[in-house]
């Protein structure tokens, strides 16, 4: 018996080796290197890095750019999070009805999730083109003069938010839908017998019981918001006038365009700290509103 167990353990380890090796080589070592590099001025081509202490971090917090990037990210979060939460919840509630047409709609809505970010962004870039784009042409039919979505600094981030919601809606509504489906049917029957109306059922049963799922969605979407990247890179590249510069875009630009790997690594560490802090805060706050059965 003991031998069998050891053998099983051996095979388990054996099968884990490729993924653990991959994790060590492509994630763990780069992460540790980034931490080290963030204290250096490594510029890739100039040979061995020099340690410069906290200079990169001081430069980051002293730069105008960092605060612009944070403001941009906050702008994204304040529009994207409520937008995605409300719209995916509404859709999930709609899915929850057992109509044939809804099932087909569910599939359609999932297509953007399966689309690659790059392909989607390229198509949206053309749709949102100010003068010749499809969206503004459609708006013109109903007499609205559409803005320059991606080239006007007032609209660029809003456009990014719209496209991000388009992309993520299918995924998050499905997740919430899953949460809705796991609610015990008998609770609804009991509520109906007690004479509760549809709104009361939603407020007192559905919403509280779906909060664990909403919490998951909130944590994931906030992390995603800080890691915003491909849509920005393709659609605006941080412009116009830096209105869509965000952390990962800056990390990429400093690392691979300016070859300031030390500074880019420091930005990555700052991003890590921000994400961990925000997630911890959410973990603490969840006690106040997440309801576990």
């Amino acid at each position: 018996m003991k031998i069998m167990e050891n053998k099983a353990r051996f095979y388990i380890m054996l099968f884990l080796v490729p993924s653990i090796l991959g994790f060590i080589v492509f994630s763990l070592i780069p992460m540790i290197s980034a931490l080290y590099l963030s204290f250096t001025n490594w510029d890739v081509i100039g040979g061995a890095p020099d340690i410069i202490g906290f200079k990169n971090f001081i430069d980051i917090f002293k730069s105008v750019e960092f605060y612009r990037v944070m403001t941009n990210t906050m702008k994204f979060i304040s529009l994207y999070i409520p937008g995605i939460l409300v719209s995916s919840l509404l859709l999930a509630l709609m899915f929850n009805r057992t109509m044939k047409s809804v099932a087909a709609f569910r599939v359609l809505l999932f297509i953007p999730v399966l689309t690659s970010w790059i392909a989607g962004s390229i198509i949206w870039k053309s749709i949102l083109s100010g003068q010749y784009g499809m969206l503004n042409n459609l708006l013109a039919i109903v007499g609205i003069h559409g803005p320059a979505w991606l080239t006007d600094p007032k609209w660029a981030m809003i456009s990014i938010v719209m496209v991000s919601i388009w992309k993520d809606l299918g995924f998050f509504s499905l997740i919430i839908f899953g949460g809705l489906r796991s609610i015990d049917r008998t609770l609804y029957e009991a509520a109906k017998i007690d004479g509760a109306n549809a709104f009361q059922i939603l407020r007192k049963i559905t919403i509280p019981l779906v909060t664990p799922t909403l919490f998951f969605v909130l944590v994931t979407t906030i992390i995603n918001s800080f890691q915003l990247f491909p849509q920005i890179m393709v659609m605006t590249a941080g412009g116009p006038m830096g209105a869509t510069q965000v952390m990962v875009e800056r990390i990429y630009t400093y690392g691979f365009r300016y070859f300031e790997m030390g500074y880019a690594s420091a930005l990555a560490i700052v991003l890590l700290i921000i994400i961990v802090t925000v997630t911890l805060i959410q973990m603490v706050l969840q006690k106040k509103w997440v309801f576990y059965e």
């Binding site: 890739v44 081509i45 730069s63 100010g130 003068q131 010749y132 784009g133 830096g242 365009r257 300016y258």
Partner: protein, 406 residues
């Protein structure tokens, strides 16, 4: 045992023979500029070099421009730098300053044919760190048909921005979606235009930025008025994502100030008559200069052979002629034969303007971090175009930020 002895004898014999032949060396050459159409020309150059230097073999590797500098930096960092590689003028400074490339000993090579501005562009102090292979400049390209329709005389080399604007306004009047002239407003255009107005981005010894000088502010105001006041240049919105070259090729643009590398494309894709002139200046002539060079890695084990290959690509009449015949920018070795071959390809008929422009070449400030400076300045230039800031406010703020940061 006998067999083994026989084998050993053969091996010893072969080993004894090899040193009799001089040693052949292989050099690795990494480039981007042959990518997308000139690969065969480069192969022809390499073949010519190998015929002249039978003991040197060249292994060519070609990458797309988009990946090139990331790949190159990674290889240099990993100690895998190719012996000879290509650098453009924007990246040259960084590689030289970081000591990644070798100073070239050119005593054995003929570099007398190389156009002097291009040679100087790849020197640090008096030391030659790179050898230019090809270069290009910028000229005014104009649509003759639109000039005829508007009844305006064709541009000449004595034109300034004033004549250019007058012509542009007449052409603009031809139709609501016909524009007079296109000059983009961005850092790369700005450093040239301010020189045309007697200004500059940095002081003479490049120790300080002078972004908000009176001449610079005035130049930026003139640039912006072309878009926002006279609208002879389309706004980003009017352009609607269309490229400036495409606008010209569509026949809706009177003049475009752009690089001579547009010639091939325009010759194929314009169904109207066009020609070129020296780019007009505001007070002085000044025009862009771009160049690609080949450099030798300081870690190369075969520096002599690598230098020989670099010198061949740069200064040899054979390579220059191959380049000229292939219409692959301007070769730096401007022999009479090369000039004749270059002029033979028309349109444009007035190719002399390309050579006349060589008298007015300006270069961007030679800064290791010019790319980052350019991006920072761009934000303020865009704010000035959008009318959020006046030209003066934009340049004042840019000056404060950039001189504090770099």
């Amino acid at each position: 045992m006998k067999k083994l002895l026989a084998v050993l004898t053969v091996v010893l014999f072969l080993a004894a023979c090899t040193p009799a032949k001089a040693k052949e060396v292989t050099i690795k050459f990494l480039n981007y500029s042959s990518n997308g159409g000139q690969e065969a020309t480069l192969t022809a150059m390499v073949d010519a070099f190998e015929v002249a230097n039978p003991l040197i073999k060249v292994e060519v590797e070609t990458l797309g421009y988009a990946d090139y500098f990331t790949q190159l930096a990674t290889r240099v960092a990993g100690g895998q730098a190719p012996d000879v590689f290509e650098l453009n003028i924007e990246n040259f400074r960084a590689y030289a300053d970081k000591g990644a490339i070798a100073e070239l000993d050119l005593s054995k090579f003929d570099i007398s044919k190389i156009q002097p501005t291009t040679l100087k562009a790849f020197q640090i102090g008096t030391k030659q760190y790179g050898l230019p292979t090809k270069f290009s400049n910028v000229v005014l390209i104009y649509n003759k048909d639109l000039f005829d329709q508007a009844g305006v005389a064709y541009p000449t080399s004595s034109w300034t921005w004033a004549e250019e604007l007058a012509a542009a306004q007449k052409i603009r009047a031809l139709g609501t979606d016909i524009y007079g002239v296109f000059r983009p407003i961005q850092t790369w255009e700005f450093y040239k235009t301010v020189v045309q107005n007697g200004g500059s981005m940095m002081n003479a010894d490049q120790s300080a930025f002078t972004l908000n000088s009176a001449q610079n502010v005035e130049a930026l105001e003139i640039m912006i008025a072309r878009i926002n006041t006279t609208n002879v240049t389309p706004t980003t919105e009017q352009l609607g994502g269309m490229g400036d070259w495409d606008l010209f090729k569509s026949g809706r643009l009177g003049m475009i100030v752009t690089g001579i590398w547009a010639f091939n494309d325009f010759a194929t894709n314009c169904d109207f008559a066009w020609d070129i002139a020296v780019e007009p200046g505001i007070k002085n002539h000044a025009t862009h200069f771009f160049s690609d060079a080949v450099v030798v890695s300081k870690d190369s084990k075969v520096i002599a052979a690598a230098t020989a290959f670099a010198a061949f690509l740069s200064g040899s009449p054979e390579a220059a002629l191959l380049r000229a015949n292939a219409n692959w920018d301007l070769p730096v070795a401007l022999t009479d034969e090369v000039i004749a071959a270059f002029k033979a390809v028309v349109p444009p008929a007035n190719k002399q303007a390309v050579f006349d422009s060589l008298n007015y070449l300006v270069m961007p400030p030679s800064l290791e971090k010019f790319g980052a400076v350019a991006d920072d300045l761009q934000i303020y230039l865009s704010k000035a175009i959008a009318g959020e800031l006046t030209a003066k406010e934009a340049l004042d703020q840019a000056q404060a930020l950039i001189s504090g940061k770099y």
